[in-house]
Symmetry: C2
Subunit: 617 residues, 2 copies
């Protein structure tokens, strides 16, 4: 389809108004990145007023085209476009960066037209992959657009996403790079030598176009070509000038992240832009609607999952139960999808793939693209479980941070946590993942010890609206819970207790079994201890811990994790302000290769160490 | 130079012996990745016995060629090569993966021939960039080789490093990709369709060769070509077969990370390999030595830095003092280098660049490549300071984790920490960096509050042999310390104290000034509090904190960081086992854009909140 586009001089007025708004709002704020907005004004004008199909009053419409502003520092331009479209009064732009305005320095989903927060460069394309995969999942024809900067193209995450986009053949995805030549501190690696970028995108399998990014007709034609391209995504490399439209800032060093000064400087710039406006007789640009009416993204009541059928004492690794659990959940909820990074046969996500191949996405060894795509999927109504070895999720730590800022409901599953993996050695042992995940506010952190709790926690994670992390272990562990036991987020299980408990041992995952062993060893000596399974590390069960703190002399935490940032810190944060003694057992040095049991003992988290610590109390 | 190479059939014997050793050691260990070793046996044989110049008995020789095994799971092959070269007896290979052997599941620098730990895929090339840059720094002709797998080429970090290698024109760097087609769980994205990889490497500016990776002559010729190439690094894409040499495993699915079973299975494989050996009359392969004698990488005594000349009350941001500090240090120590990711004008590393342009490396917006290169530089004797916004260091979290495993002396500087950055919003506010860095055992975590402490802590970080992190702030803060004050790692400063102190407030960075304000406000009411500057967050000053815990009713921690994993947890870990009450003030939700002072108050870490919390105690 070739569109009959609105006359270009009139659309040029829109671009000019977006520039004006970008300057006035940043000047009013006293900070921001007007020149990074100005380079992309034509791109955004062409997208918003002709190319994209959406409902202004309903930006989250399930079938509306998406725009992800990967170069998030151009936020004022995005805000100006929505004001121009009529979502809110233009005057509201002057609240930019004010404490009570949702028009923040970089976009966040506090705004209804933002799917994922951006501002950490190189993340938008991954989210775009997720949005495009979601369209495929729900059978929608909505298209996804991602606007990148040239500077951020240095991020490896961009190339992971590029590779994934081509692998999945996402012809419903169109990216545009605003090649304005100038980074923050200097010229980018290639400046305006745009062919270097073109050859890279082509090498990564994208249909690649090079256009003058200030030529609305060229942009329109490029969008037409993108829409006509099948089997692969399109990258439009748009040659632009930073600060375009204002002669004394355009294409000059030293203007990154710098608003124009109120008074003469801003006035001169605005006057120059005003002169570029032509009489358009009040022309408006009809916005094409989505091809289908809106519909709810989530069902009114979450579907029930089939009951479990484990037997007590059955030996099952929690990672395996995770795989079974997502497949069981996927059978009743079409929103559930799974992503993996070439370890599906270790994380057991291959159980999901076997059952639902259309909802399984292989990202190969590219964790950032995987988590980025999960963010995009979650933002569009899917419930994505992304799994890999827990240590390799650290590769996507910045994406996880931004998922927290975005408050999107990604579900991460990290397997092979801790020294209990054994001989593969420290590079494969996640011993800092709890610290990373706890440092995401509102991220639920779950750590099952057996198959029953693992499966229930998969369902809990899916029903939780925000981000959730499930930590699983490599070794098989015995089932200790009945199939119908409930594991609410924020709860815990007190597995051993008596009126004579001298101490409380809090374990989770593999260390829970060390705690139970220690309980029996001490019981044989006539010493009673309380044992708590802290399967919900965040939020943690403050009530149970405070009670234990009152009723026993001290709390001993035991974790297959470094001593910093994990279970011990979580427990301590819950009860530390009451003056409860908290003694921590955890890994205190870089471990070595060796058998799991040997390592658990050598690094101080075995039953023997718990017994010794209780005696010392 | 074209070498007269040892006759190929004899070198083929070496490759076959490396295969035999890879099988016997993994079979003895009962775990490991023999087939991933077997695909690369010719590559490693050609490198070790003809191409590389080194001294067997002195692997850390300053001018010896380097080999980084980016595909770290092929560790048994690397170990076998060093045994073949004579560094240790072949029988020692049978200790693979045993608890007291340094021949771990993946290589770590516990071994003298390993520069950086590998095993988290996609990291070796970044370290290789660092090794190659170091050769340039010291004017050495040593060459750096990096052996990658095809699976790990999906990692964006590989492409960041690729771009950096071309940008720096590192013709002393040669990478080889062992394209054995099979990942862990399935065929890689491209399998043996090697042209897809070739076009990518060429697009990223590398001299790229495609060879039969089992043809020693072809490999030798490729290494010759690489050595003859100027101005850019070389990538040799070697087409290989996983498990090559043993017919019943070669090029088959299901053999990743699986040793051959002792008995018939291993015996059959070994017999097949034994038959491939030819009579070589005991031929040996002379190893070319480095072109220059070894020399110490570090001076006997660290050079003295020029004294500071700040005045009390002078307003200087700690990030600015960091920049001044590394430049001051660089003036007396040629080992000091600086790396940045397009924010040198915000981190003030541009002060170092201005003084020492040859020792400043711009990585553009590619934090993984930056930190990876810092690891390689540090492993080779440089003292690299890598700086960016603290939040963007999270992009390199997995590299930082592996720097911990490697125990290399990288120095990271994260600026713009916390809500005190103001209007840019949550995507730019590091509020989890202390959690990340504390979870690296032995990583020193420093957090200066003023310019004097910042400059001294730069020197302390440089002198510390392991990894160190310096957290700096955006706003200007007053100088409160005298120029000659000492700031030892693990220390603290008690800035206010009396015998009547009811509570101790522990701050660091910007919150220290809130604590001092609170002190004065409370003093006006007749309430005395102790104020401690915890500039060393890890290790933390347990002695001073325990004393404060004994002498006052509670400790109140105040941090511009999320409540999890930061200063509060560090303090609590130090004194929590004594039953000292620790009350934490920190950021408990995703913050918004706004003025720094407003945010500091809104998120509960201002002087007013400290006063309220002390009153409540």
């Amino acid at each position: 389809m070739t569109r009959v586009f609105a006359a270009r001089p009139l659309l040029q007025n829109v671009a000019t108004r977006l520039r004006i708004d970008s300057i006035t709002s940043t000047t009013a704020a006293g900070s921001g990145h007007p020149t990074s907005c100005m380079s992309a004004a034509e791109i955004v004008a062409a997208l918003f007023f002709g190319e994209m199909r959406y409902e202004v009053a309903n930006p989250r419409h399930v079938h509306a085209d998406r725009l992800i502003l990967s170069k998030g520092h151009a936020a004022p331009l995005l805000y100006a476009a929505w004001a121009e479209a009529g979502l809110f009064p233009r005057e509201h732009l002057l609240t930019l960066r004010k404490i009570d305005s949702d028009l923040e320095g970089h976009p966040t989903p506090r705004l209804p037209f933002v799917d994922v927060a951006t501002g950490s460069l190189g993340q938008g394309l991954g989210a775009g992959i997720g949005c495009a995969l979601n369209a495929r999942r729900i059978g929608s024809d909505y298209r996804t657009y991602v606007l990148l900067g040239d500077g951020e193209s240095a991020e490896g995450s961009v190339w992971e996403a590029a590779s994934a986009g081509a692998f999945f053949g996402l012809d419903n995805l169109c990216a545009i790079t605003d090649v304005n030549r100038l980074g923050q501190s200097r010229q980018t690696q290639f400046g305006h030598d745009i062919d270097h970028l073109a050859v890279r995108w082509r090498a990564f399998g994208w249909h690649t176009l090079v256009v003058d990014g200030h030529d609305l007709g060229a942009l329109e034609a490029a969008f037409d070509q993108a829409r006509a391209t099948t089997g692969t995504p399109t990258m439009i490399l748009a040659r632009t000038f930073k600060g375009h439209g204002v002669s004394f800032v355009e294409n000059r060093d030293g203007w990154h992240g710098r608003p124009l000064k109120p008074g003469d400087e801003a006035d001169r710039a605005l006057a120059e832009l005003q002169r570029q406006l032509v009489d358009d007789g009040g022309a408006t640009f009809p916005i094409p609607p989505p091809s289908r009416p809106d519909e709810p993204a989530t069902p009114a009541t979450p579907p029930a999952v089939a009951p479990l059928a484990y037997t007590l004492g059955q030996m099952v690794a929690t990672r395996e139960a995770f795989g079974t659990g997502i497949a069981r959940l996927g059978a009743v909820d079409p929103r559930v999808v799974a992503l993996d990074a070439d370890v599906k046969n270790s994380t057991f996500s291959d159980r999901f793939e076997a059952a639902f191949p259309d909802r399984f996405y292989e990202f190969f060894i590219a964790e950032q693209a995987m988590v980025g795509a999960a963010m995009g999927l979650a933002a569009r109504g899917a419930i994505p479980f992304a799994s890999t070895f827990a240590c390799f999720l650290s590769r996507a730590a910045d994406f996880i941070r931004m998922a927290g800022v975005s408050a999107v409901g990604i579900k991460l599953a990290g397997s092979h946590a801790g020294v209990s993996i054994g001989e593969d050695g420290p590079s494969q042992m996640a011993l800092e993942d709890l610290a990373t995940m706890r440092a995401v506010p509102d991220c639920v952190v779950l750590y099952p010890c057996d198959a029953v709790s693992a499966e229930h926690l998969v369902v809990e994670a899916a029903r939780h609206p925000g981000p959730a992390y499930i930590r699983t272990s490599r070794p098989k562990t015995p089932v200790i819970y009945g199939n119908a036991e409930a594991f609410p987020i924020g709860g815990s299980k007190t597995l051993r207790q008596s009126e004579r408990d001298v101490a409380t041992v809090v374990g989770a995952g593999v260390t829970l079994f060390e705690a139970l062993k220690a309980h029996d060893l001490l019981a044989a000596e006539g010493v009673a201890i309380r044992v708590i399974d802290a399967y919900s590390v965040q939020p943690i069960d403050r009530t149970a811990l405070e009670k234990a703190g009152r009723e026993t002399r001290a709390i001993l935490t035991v974790e297959d994790h470094y001593i910093a940032g994990g279970l011990g810190d979580a427990v301590s944060a819950a009860v530390g302000d009451r003056g409860v003694r908290v003694v921590r057992l955890g890994v205190r040095e870089i471990p070595r290769s060796g058998p799991p049991d040997v390592l658990i003992d050598r690094y101080g988290i075995s039953a023997a160490h718990i017994v010794a610590a209780v005696r010392q109390l």
